[in-house]
Symmetry: C2
Subunit: 449 residues, 2 copies
């Protein structure tokens, strides 16, 4: 029996779409290339301590209504990110402790940063979240890199360094890798810089008890037809439906949803071929570069020193760190992100060398005790063939204005979901869920219309 | 019997590699996804006039030694591009006639353009052709778009317009779509702006008698094992060789060469997966956007008016035009290129609307006689699934410096050719041939080493 709808990709977007379509009475089959569900989220159990950790996406916040509602709907719980104590900033070879948003830099730098971030956020508020190509001066904003804008507007090198840390932490990229229009759009999706970077009230407020991988697992458990190890290798569409070929067979449905990173569709043969704008859009959405590194210690030793575990650095390879300990506080876990240029530096080396580099980086922040963890875990998302990188796609200069209209436009009976297509919180878990809900409504509407 | 080497892609690069490897005594199989050879070159015969025309790459010049030598080796001949008479420039709603390089703009504009192009070419001369990421200030040059540099350095709007025409004609893209480092590298590959844009002595000097598609056809005819309609869908590599899967079977060899646009490999499963830097590079090489349009007339009526048929325009959709008549001069053929932003404007419309837009554009240049051709032909390369666009890949900000090292680096027994990998004249026919010669030497060296 053919299902009504086939969803390609069992990440949060695809599984949410499948859930909503099933709830509306449609039969749905999910085809997943990997041997697991969850896409860019994954919770694994560490061998020595038995601790469950998120090697992929992990944070949610009260400003992210789609994923929060889904978490509650699934009966999962969240707990707050540990953020008590002083933060650290390692800028150059100088380390400073501080509370609040911004490190205690010189008044000239603080004033410069305040002015620049105010100007940036004011510009961001002029961008329509779901159609940045219609923004005032969209062509100009899209013809320059975020880096060019920072260089032009930041009067102090430390301000530029702070913005590079922002780009790394939030876009997993260097400011040169995206257009100014994209930096503004993405920032606006989170309601401003702080919406992306802060804990209480913002995107980093909470984590999912048991791990964020549990969301996809519960979604998949409630579905009837999820097929793992089923990469789609060819797609045909005619007037009545879509046929998807996997190495094991052929799948036919009235509609198909692709909920995968768009760039991974570049070599996939579609018959008839995709429209040129859609095909060239897919070529223009490379994925960010990020490695996630965690070190597990008997106890969170930094807390005893009055530190929150949160740190930023402009030296790397770890440029942002967090206390990622479980709710009970033991064992202690330090989480370090290696992003953009720093990730590229460590792309070609082995796991041991990367581990040493990350531990040394954490030790420069938190002291030599960081050098002797019980165990460590690392995940290089750039090396995952079915993700291609994390957190999500980067829109370089000219892409939003030249190709943005094709991002969500269905091609006949083929529909597009995935975190890249979100109308808010793109490339976040919240955006993935929003895209799954949007695409399910789109298909139900098409079937009724 | 397994061949020694399998080449994927029967364009100029792949076929040149196959020829050189065969000549060195190796057995070679070529797998081509399409039902024809030639890749981004193709010669077709028009139904009404019986004229053979190149709907893909067509020009070669004496400054392109690799393709010129190959043409002579194959016993083909070239003939000069018609360039006698006055050129046209349609800037805004003003049309001017001129001889030589640059339209007769105001002295202020001419001085501004001279200064800017001098500065640009001086900078281009500092770029190592085969390793632009090692250039002085490479990071800075790669952090901004070509558009940003033009805006900063051009004092007159007409200078900016001329540079946009240059980007369209030579890169098939808007200046915002590439980094400054890429614009410099590519310009340097042709020895400067004129190397790319002029006829006598330069890249547009000659055309191939019978059509440029004849080069690939002769190459293929001399090979023993070229298989059409054989798209590669999966790749495996082990210590002794490479296995390539096509829908019809399995092919095994000691070495494999991929001679296709890199971005089209994004979704292709490699086992083991490609190294992260190579995989992310492939995501970052989108193809340019160009449509080629030709109109055939009983005679080249513009010649009678003293015009060369060469024209540039900043209004579009045709931004560059040429006399593309056969050597005997009849029938007359006008060739118009629709590139970058202009190509995107006409991406979603049907062939009739595009034909009307192109003919109107030619009529604004050459008069109403252009509106009534005997026949027309158009080719939208952005809609070709196995090219993904033309002329070739664009390197956006951060790509050369972050990923350039992976462009030609073999991955075990897998080697990379194609116009994008050329060390000179990248994205041209000459670069394709150079890459085929380089990769064949690389494999012969590896087998001896």
């Amino acid at each position: 029996m053919n299902p009504d709808i086939i969803v390609v990709g069992a990440g949060l977007a695809g599984l949410t779409a499948a859930r909503r379509l099933s709830a509306a009475g449609r039969t749905v089959r999910v085809l997943e290339a990997r041997g697991r569900v969850g896409g860019r989220t994954q919770t694994i159990r560490l061998p020595k301590t038995g601790l469950s950790v998120d090697v992929g996406g992990q944070w949610v916040g009260p400003n992210q209504p789609h994923v929060m509602a889904l978490i509650h709907e699934l009966g999962l719980e969240v707990y707050p990110t540990h953020d008590e104590g002083q933060n650290l900033a390692l800028l150059g070879d100088k380390i400073v402790r501080y509370r609040g948003l911004i490190p205690p830099l010189s008044p000239l730098v603080l004033a410069d940063y305040a002015l620049l971030s105010h100007r940036f956020e004011a510009l961001a508020r002029s961008i329509p979240l779901d159609a940045p190509w219609t923004a005032p001066d969209a062509a100009d904003l899209d013809a320059q890199t975020f880096d060019t804008w920072i260089r032009k507007n930041a009067r102090r090198p430390q301000t530029r360094a702070l913005m590079r840390v922002y780009a790394g932490a939030v876009f997993s990229a260097a400011p040169a890798e995206m257009s100014l229009l994209h930096a503004l759009t993405y920032t606006a999706h989170g309601g401003g810089i702080n919406g992306h970077t802060l804990t209480r009230g913002h995107a980093l407020q909470d984590r999912v008890l048991g791990g964020a991988g549990g969301i996809s697992q519960r979604l998949a458990d409630a579905l009837e037809d999820v097929r793992l190890n089923s990469p789609v290798v060819r797609v045909e569409q005619d007037e009545t439906g879509v046929t998807l070929h996997t190495p094991d067979g052929t799948h036919r449905a009235e509609h198909a949803v692709f909920a995968v990173p768009p760039v991974l569709l570049c070599g996939l043969p579609f018959d008839p071929p995709l429209p040129a704008r859609r095909a060239q859009l897919q070529q223009r959405l490379p994925m960010g570069a990020v490695m996630k590194f965690m070190a597990v210690y008997e106890r969170p030793f930094w807390r005893e020193a009055g530190l929150s575990g949160m740190a930023i650095s402009d030296t790397g390879p770890v440029t942002v760190a967090f206390d990622n300990s479980p709710p009970q506080g033991t064992p202690g876990v330090l989480l370090g992100f290696i992003e953009g240029a720093e990730a590229r530096e460590l792309m070609d080396v082995g796991e041991h060398e990367r581990r040493d580099a990350a531990l040394n980086s954490l030790a420069r922040m938190f002291g030599d005790e960081a050098l002797t963890p019980i165990e460590t875990v690392q995940r290089d998302w750039t090396a995952e063939p079915f993700s291609g990188g994390c957190y999500g796609a980067l829109f370089g200069p000219g892409v939003w204005t030249g190709y943005g209209e094709a991002l969500r436009a269905p091609v006949g009976r083929i529909h597009w979901a995935g975190a890249e297509t979100a109308r808010v919180w793109m490339n976040y878990m919240d955006g993935a869920v929003e895209s799954g809900e949007r695409v399910s409504a789109e298909i139900l509407g098409a079937q009724e219309g």
